[in-house]
C-alpha cells in the first residue's frame, strides 16, 4: 500500500475519549473568525464532468464557420444572448446576463488542458492533479493550494471546513496531505441520527478511529469527527437561501445551496469544490432547446442563485468553472458532438473584472482548428486557476501548486 495520505498532524484536544460537548476553543474560533476577518477569501471550483460543448455555451456567433460546421445544432444568431458583438451566451443562460452586466462575470474562451488526450478519465485526472501529461502525481492541485495558504483565522488551529467537496466522496482534485472533507448532505452529517444515544456512540467511533494505526482511516476519521462537531455547533441549517436565490431542483443546485449554508455559517471555508455531470452529448445535443439547454439552465441558474445567496460574502468569493475538454467543432452524424480540445471557462467574483471575454480567440477556419477538428487552445487552465490561487487566495507558491508549469502570464481578470 503506497497511500500515505495523512500524517498524524495534530495532537487535538478532540481526541479525548468521551467528548460529548463541543470544545470551547472551537466555538471561540467561530466567533473569532466572524470578527477578525483575517483571511476570508475563498475559491469555489466547479467541474463540468463529461466535456461540455463550449462552442454552444459561449457561442462565437460572428464566425460563419461555426454555422457551417453545425448545420443542425448551432445556436441561431437571433437566439444567442449577445455579449460583445462576437460572442453570445446560450439562451438557457439568461440568469448569467445580469452578472455579466454588473461585471462580476468574466469568460475565458479557448482554454483548457494542453494535453491532447480525448479520454474523459485521463483528461479529468490531469485537470484535477494539475499536471497534464503526468500520471504519477498523487495529490490534487486544489489540495496543494492549501499548503502555503494562511488559515482563515489566526485563532483557528483546526479548520475541518477549510477545504470541502460537496458529494459522497473526496474528488481527486482535493486528495492530498492537507485535510479536506467530503459532505453529501449537511443534514445527516453525523453518527446515529438525532436520538439521545447518538453523541456517546459517535464518541466511541471517534475514539476507535483516533486510536487506529490504520493511517488512511485514521486521518479521515479524525477530520470527519472534528467536522461533525463543528457543524453541529454552527448549525448551518438555520441559514436559509437569501431572497431572490431561486435554486432549481437537482444535485448541483443542492450542492451549491448547502455550500452557501456552510459559507454563511462562517466555518472558515477557503476552498470548495462541486461538480455537475451530463455534458457528454454524442447524440441529439439539441440547440436552443434540448439536452444542452436543459443542463445549461441547471448550471447557470444554480450558480447565479449561489451568487445571490452569498450576498455580501460573494465579494470575497471567486468561482471558476472548468470541463475536461471541449467537443468537436463539427457536429457528428447523430446531431451530437464528439470529444474535442479547448473549451470555455467562467470566472465570477466580487474582485473579478467581468463583462469581458479573456484569452486569444484562435478562429474556426479548418486551418485554425486543432488537428483539423477541434477548437485550438490558447489559454492553459492553470493560467486561469493559478491567478485565482495566487492573486485572490494569496498563495504565492504557484510552483508548488502546479509543478512544472511555466506560466506565460496571468490574464489579469482580477482587479
Amino acid at each position: 500500500m503506497s497511500i500515505t495520505r495523512r500524517v498524524f498532524m495534530r495532537n487535538s484536544a478532540l481526541a479525548v475519549v468521551g467528548t460529548s460537548v463541543v470544545p470551547a476553543f472551537l466555538t471561540r474560533a467561530i466567533h473569532a473568525a466572524e470578527t477578525a476577518g483575517v483571511q476570508n477569501k475563498r475559491l469555489v471550483v466547479i467541474f463540468q464532468r463529461g466535456a461540455a460543448d463550449g462552442l454552444n455555451i459561449v457561442v462565437p456567433h460572428a464566425e460563419q464557420a461555426y454555422y457551417a460546421m453545425r448545420p443542425s445544432i448551432n445556436i441561431p444568431r437571433n437566439a444567442v444572448l449577445d455579449l460583445n458583438g462576437f460572442f453570445g451566451l446560450h439562451p438557457a443562460m439568461a440568469s448569467f446576463q445580469p452578472l455579466w452586466n454588473q461585471k462580476h462575470l468574466a469568460i475565458v474562451h479557448a482554454a483548457g488542458s494542453p494535453d491532447p488526450t480525448r479520454s474523459h478519465f485521463d483528461a479529468q485526472d490531469f485537470m484535477e492533479s494539475g499536471t497534464p501529461g503526468v500520471k504519477a502525481t498523487e495529490d490534487g492541485w486544489l489540495n496543494r493550494s492549501l499548503r502555503e495558504l494562511p488559515k482563515a483565522s489566526l485563532t483557528q488551529t483546526d479548520a475541518p471546513f477549510r477545504a470541502i467537496a460537496m458529494g459522497p466522496s473526496l474528488p481527486r482534485i482535493l486528495t492530498g496531505a492537507e485535510p479536506a472533507v467530503a459532505i453529501n448532505n449537511i443534514n445527516d452529517f453525523g453518527v446515529g441520527g438525532n436520538n439521545k444515544n447518538a453523541a456517546p456512540i459517535s464518541n466511541t467511533f471517534e475514539a476507535m478511529y483516533d486510536h487506529s494505526v490504520d493511517s488512511v482511516l485514521h486521518g479521515t476519521g479524525q477530520e470527519t469527527f472534528e467536522a461533525v462537531k463543528m457543524l453541529k455547533a454552527a448549525d448551518p441549517a438555520k441559514y436559509k437561501p437569501a431572497a431572490g436565490a431561486n435554486y432549481p431542483k437537482g444535485y448541483f443546485a443542492d450542492s451549491l445551496k448547502q455550500l452557501a449554508q456552510l459559507i454563511k455559517a462562517n466555518l472558515g471555508v477557503q476552498i470548495a469544490f462541486a461538480d455537475i455531470g451530463g455534458w457528454d452529448h454524442h447524440v441529439n445535443e439539441g440547440s436552443t432547446q434540448g439536452q444542452i439547454a436543459n443542463v445549461l439552465g441547471d448550471f447557470s441558474q444554480s450558480l447565479s442563485s449561489f451568487w445571490t445567496d452569498l450576498g455580501d460574502l460573494a465579494e470575497d468569493t471567486v468561482v471558476v468553472t472548468m470541463s475536461e475538454f471541449g467537443r468537436t467543432a463539427r457536429e457528428n452524424g447523430n446531431r451530437g458532438t464528439d470529444h474535442g480540445h479547448a473549451n470555455v471557462m467562467f470566472v465570477m467574483g466580487g474582485a473579478v473584472k467581468g463583462g469581458k471575454v479573456y484569452g486569444r480567440w484562435p478562429g474556426l477556419d479548418v486551418s485554425q482548428l486543432h488537428e483539423g477538428r477541434d477548437l485550438a487552445l490558447t489559454t492553459d487552465f492553470r493560467q486561469v486557476l493559478g491567478e485565482a490561487v495566487a492573486r485572490h487566495l494569496g498563495n504565492k507558491d504557484l510552483a508548488g501548486v502546479f509543478p512544472g508549469f511555466e506560466n506565460p502570464g496571468f490574464l489579469k481578470y482580477l482587479g
Binding site: 500500500m1 475519549v17 479520454s119 441520527g193 444515544n197 466511541t204 487506529s212 482511516l217 447523430n334
Partner: protein, 674 residues
C-alpha cells in the same frame, strides 16, 4: 501449503461430501506457527474468503477449513458445481430478473411506449391487468400534459398582470379549489387503503383493478411509504409487481434489478462468480439512467456478463460489443459510415421484401430521430481505452476513427421496445480500414469480429485487464511481477480468465502477509460483507440499495463508462465513513428496513452472559478476531458508560447490548478492510 493446480484434477471429480470424509485438519485452537513471510493456515482461509467472496459469514471459516482451502477455491472456480438453490428461492419473487428486454419493455412500459400507444403506433395489450397498467400510465401522462398547459397559461397570465400587487393575489388563497380537491383525494385514498388492508392480501389487486382508472390514480398517488408497504405486505409476488407497476412500471424493473444484485452478493454460494460478475460489469460499465438501458441491464448482466465471468475474454468482449445495453449506452447503434448507403440516401437493393417489412415496423432508417449520416466514435474510443488496450495501450485518434468505421452497421432494432442486435449493411462504411497497423478488408459484420479478435489478443489488453484484476484481488498498486505472470497466462491460454485467476491464486504475491486485510472495501463490498457477517435475513434490499447511493456507489449508477474505482482513496472520505458507521448501527440495531438481524444468535446457541466474553465472541464471529487492541479497549470502555449501554458488560442480570457491540465492530476501522 500453496494453492497447487495439481490438486485440481484429482478433486474436481470428488463430490463435496466425499471430500469432507478426509477430515482435513481444521484450523482452530492450535495455530500452526508460520514463517514470517507466510500467512498461517487460518489466515489463509480468512484471506481467501475476504478476497474471493463478499466476506465471510458466521461459520464460513470453519467450513472452508474443513473442506480444504484448495478444494474450496477449485469449487469457486467452477460455479456450476455449486448448488445455489437457496439464492434462487430468494430471487424467485423478483420475476423480472428472468424476463428478456422485450418482455420487460412490453409488460412494464416506459413513457415512450405509452406515448406510442397514445399516438396509435402500438396497440393496447389485451390482457386486463396489462391493460390497466397502460391505461393508468396514459391517464397519468394526459394529466401531466394538462398541468403543463395550465402552467403555461398561468405564466402567461402572470406576465400580463405583472404590475398587479403580488399580495393581492395571495388574498385569494383560502378559496383555493385545488387544495380542496387534494384534501378530498387524500381522504378517499385513506378510506380505500383501510378497506384494502382489511382484505386478505391476495384479494387486494383484484379490488384495485375494479376501481375506475381515475380512482386508481388517486389511490396510488396518495398512498405512499409505510402505508404502501403494508398494503403490499403478503401480496403474492406477481400481484405485488403489478400493483407497483400501476404506479410506475419502470420502477419495478429497476428495483428488482437492484435488489437482485445485492441479494446475489449476499446470498449466492457461487461467490467468486458474483465477485467476477461485478468486476466485469464494472469493467464493461453501462449506466442504468440512460434511456432504454433501463430495460437492457437485466439481460446484460444475466446473459452477457455472468455466463462469461470465468470464461474467455474474447467471448465476453464480443458479447458486450453486440449487447443492446452497450450498443445503446455508447451510441454505436447510431453510428453510420460517412460513405454508406444510408449516408448517401441509397435505398437497399437486397431482399426488398425483408427491407420493406423492417421499414414497416421501424420506419425508414434515415428518417429516425437524429440525422443519421455520420460516424459516432464514442464506442470505438472506449472499446480501446477502457475495455481492451488501456489508455496508453498504443492506439491513436486515427485508430479510434477506423475502429468506429469497422463497427458501423452494428446496430439495434427498436431499442425502446427491447429489440436486439442486428447488422445493417446499409449503415456500414465500405472500403478497407487500418486498425493498429492491421489492414481490415471489406467484410461487413465480420470486420468487427476481426478487430475484436485483434484487440482481445493484444499484449496491452492482457496487461491492462490483468492489472485491473490484480487491483481487485491483490492490491491497489499491484506488484508488476504478478501482473506480468498473469498477463503471460492471459496470452498463452487464449484469454482464459479462469486460468489467469489460477495464476494469481498460485502467486506468492496473493498470499503475502502484508496483503492480509490490506484492501479498503468499496461501499458495495462493505454493505454486502456487513450483511453477510451479521447473518441478516433480507426480505427487501431496497433500503440498503439506497444506502449505497449515500456512500457514493449507486448500483448500476456510474454514468461515465470508466466504472467505479477499486482504490482506497476514492472510498475513504468523511461522508462515506459516516455512511458506513450509520449503516452498521442501523443494520445490527434492527433499524434497516427489510433486514432482520438476530444479534443474539451471533453469540451461538449458548450465549455468554459475561459481557467481556460477548465482545470477544463477536470479534471472533464478525472479524475472525482481527480486532486491534485499541478498538477492543475502546468498545469495552465505552460500554461501561451507562449512558450508552444502560447495562454493564459483566452484569448477568443485564445482558450485554449485542446489537450495539456488533454495530460498533462493523463500523470499526478493521471492518473497512478485507
Amino acid at each position: 501449503m500453496p494453492f497447487k493446480p495439481a490438486h485440481f484434477t484429482s478433486t474436481v471429480v470428488l463430490s463435496v461430501t466425499a471430500l469432507a470424509l478426509f477430515n482435513l485438519p481444521a484450523t482452530g485452537k492450535k495455530k500452526q506457527e508460520a514463517p514470517a513471510n507466510e500467512m498461517d493456515p487460518q489466515k489463509r482461509v480468512v484471506h481467501a474468503l475476504n478476497r474471493l467472496t463478499f466476506g465471510p459469514r458466521p461459520g464460513d471459516i470453519e467450513q472452508v477449513s474443513k473442506l480444504g482451502l484448495d478444494q474450496w477455491i477449485d469449487l469457486q472456480l467452477h460455479p456450476d458445481k455449486i448448488d445455489d438453490s437457496a439464492l434462487n428461492a430468494r430471487l424467485a419473487p423478483l420475476r423480472t430478473l428472468q424476463m428478456n428486454s422485450q418482455e420487460l419493455a412490453y409488460k412494464f412500459p416506459s413513457g415512450q411506449v405509452i406515448r406510442a400507444v397514445m399516438d396509435g403506433k402500438i396497440s393496447m395489450p389485451g390482457d386486463p391487468v396489462e391493460k390497466a397498467i397502460y391505461q393508468h400510465q396514459i391517464a397519468k401522462l394526459a394529466d401531466k400534459q394538462e398541468k403543463k398547459q395550465a402552467a403555461t397559461l398561468q405564466t402567461a397570465n402572470v406576465k400580463d398582470s405583472s404590475d398587479e400587487d403580488a399580495s393581492a393575489k395571495s388574498a385569494i388563497a383560502p378559496m383555493n379549489p385545488e387544495e380542496e380537491a387534494k384534501r378530498g383525494d387524500a381522504m378517499f385514498a385513506d378510506a380505500e387503503a383501510q378497506q384494502l388492508l382489511a382484505l386478505p392480501p391476495e384479494q387486494r389487486l383484484g379490488t384495485i383493478l375494479k376501481l375506475s382508472t381515475a380512482d386508481q390514480q388517486t389511490l396510488i398517488s396518495n398512498v405512499k411509504g409505510d402505508k404502501r408497504e403494508k398494503i403490499l405486505d403478503g401480496v403474492p409476488p406477481e400481484q405485488r409487481e403489478l400493483m407497483m407497476a400501476l404506479n410506475n412500471p419502470q420502477q419495478v424493473v429497476n428495483e428488482e434489478l437492484l435488489q437482485g444484485k445485492l441479494l446475489r452478493a449476499i446470498y449466492s454460494e457461487r461467490q467468486l462468480q458474483e465477485v467476477m460478475t461485478d468486476f466485469w460489469f464494472n469493467h464493461f460499465n453501462v449506466f442504468i439512467g440512460k434511456g432504454a438501458d433501463r430495460y437492457m441491464l437485466t439481460d446484460y448482466e444475466r446473459d452477457v456478463i455472468r455466463p462469461h465471468a470465468l470464461g474467455k475474454f474474447e467471448d465476453l468482449l464480443v458479447a458486450t460489443a453486440q449487447s443492446p445495453a452497450m450498443l445503446f449506452y455508447l451510441d454505436n447503434w447510431l453510428s453510420v459510415g460517412p460513405n454508406s448507403d444510408v449516408a448517401n440516401g441509397i435505398r437497399g437493393h437486397g431482399d426488398k421484401k425483408e427491407l420493406k417489412k423492417r421499414e414497416k415496423q421501424n420506419g425508414p432508417v434515415k428518417q429516425a430521430k437524429g440525422k443519421r449520416n455520420g460516424l459516432n466514435e464514442n464506442y470505438g474510443r472506449e472499446l480501446m481505452e477502457l475495455h481492451t488496450l488501456g489508455v496508453n495501450g498504443g492506439y491513436t485518434q486515427k485508430d479510434v476513427t477506423e475502429v468506429a468505421k469497422v463497427l458501423t452497421g452494428w446496430t439495434l432494432k427498436e431499442p425502446r421496445q427491447g429489440g436486439g442486435f442486428q447488422f445493417d449493411e446499409r449503415m456500414h462504411e465500405p472500403g478497407d480500414k487500418v486498425v493498429l497497423g492491421h489492414r481490415i478488408k471489406p467484410n461487413g459484420e465480420k470486420e468487427g469480429y476481426e478487430v475484436l479478435h485483434i484487440l482481445a489478443h493484444n499484449p496491452s489488453t492482457a496487461k491492462f485487464v490483468c492489472t485491473k484484476l490484480a487491483m481487485r484481488f491483490v492490491a491497489d498498486d499491484p506488484p508488476p511481477a504478478l501482473v506480468q505472470s498473469m498477463a503471460q497466462t492471459f496470452l498463452k491460454k487464449d484469454g482464459d480468465i479462469r486460468e489467469v485467476l489460477k495464476t494469481m491464486l498460485k502467486s506468492p504475491e496473493f498470499w503475502a502477509p502484508d496483503a492480509y486485510r490490506a484492501k479498503v472495501k468499496t461501499p458495495l463490498e462493505f454493505v454486502a460483507s456487513a450483511v453477510r457477517a451479521s447473518g441478516a435475513d433480507v426480505s427487501n434490499a431496497m433500503a440498503m440499495v439506497r444506502q449505497l447511493q449515500n456512500m457514493g456507489m449507486p448500483l448500476y449508477g456510474m454514468q461515465p463508462p470508466t466504472g467505479y474505482s477499486m482504490k482506497a482513496e476514492t472510498w475513504v472520505s468523511s461522508a462515506a465513513l459516516l455512511g458506513r458507521m450509520n449503516f452498521a448501527l442501523s443494520l445490527t440495531g434492527g433499524k434497516m428496513r427489510g433486514a432482520k438481524v438476530d444479534a443474539q444468535s451471533l453469540l451461538g446457541t449458548n450465549p455468554p452472559t459475561d459481557g467481556g466474553q460477548a465482545l470477544a465472541d463477536l470479534e471472533s464471529t464478525l472479524l475472525a478476531g482481527d480486532v486491534s487492541k485499541q478498538t477492543h479497549d475502546t468498545i469495552a470502555a465505552q460500554l461501561e458508560d451507562p449512558t450508552i449501554a444502560q447495562r454493564k458488560l459483566d452484569d448477568p442480570r443485564h445482558p450485554p447490548n449485542v446489537g450495539m457491540i456488533a454495530g460498533l465492530l462493523l463500523g470499526s476501522p478493521e471492518f473497512q478492510r478485507r
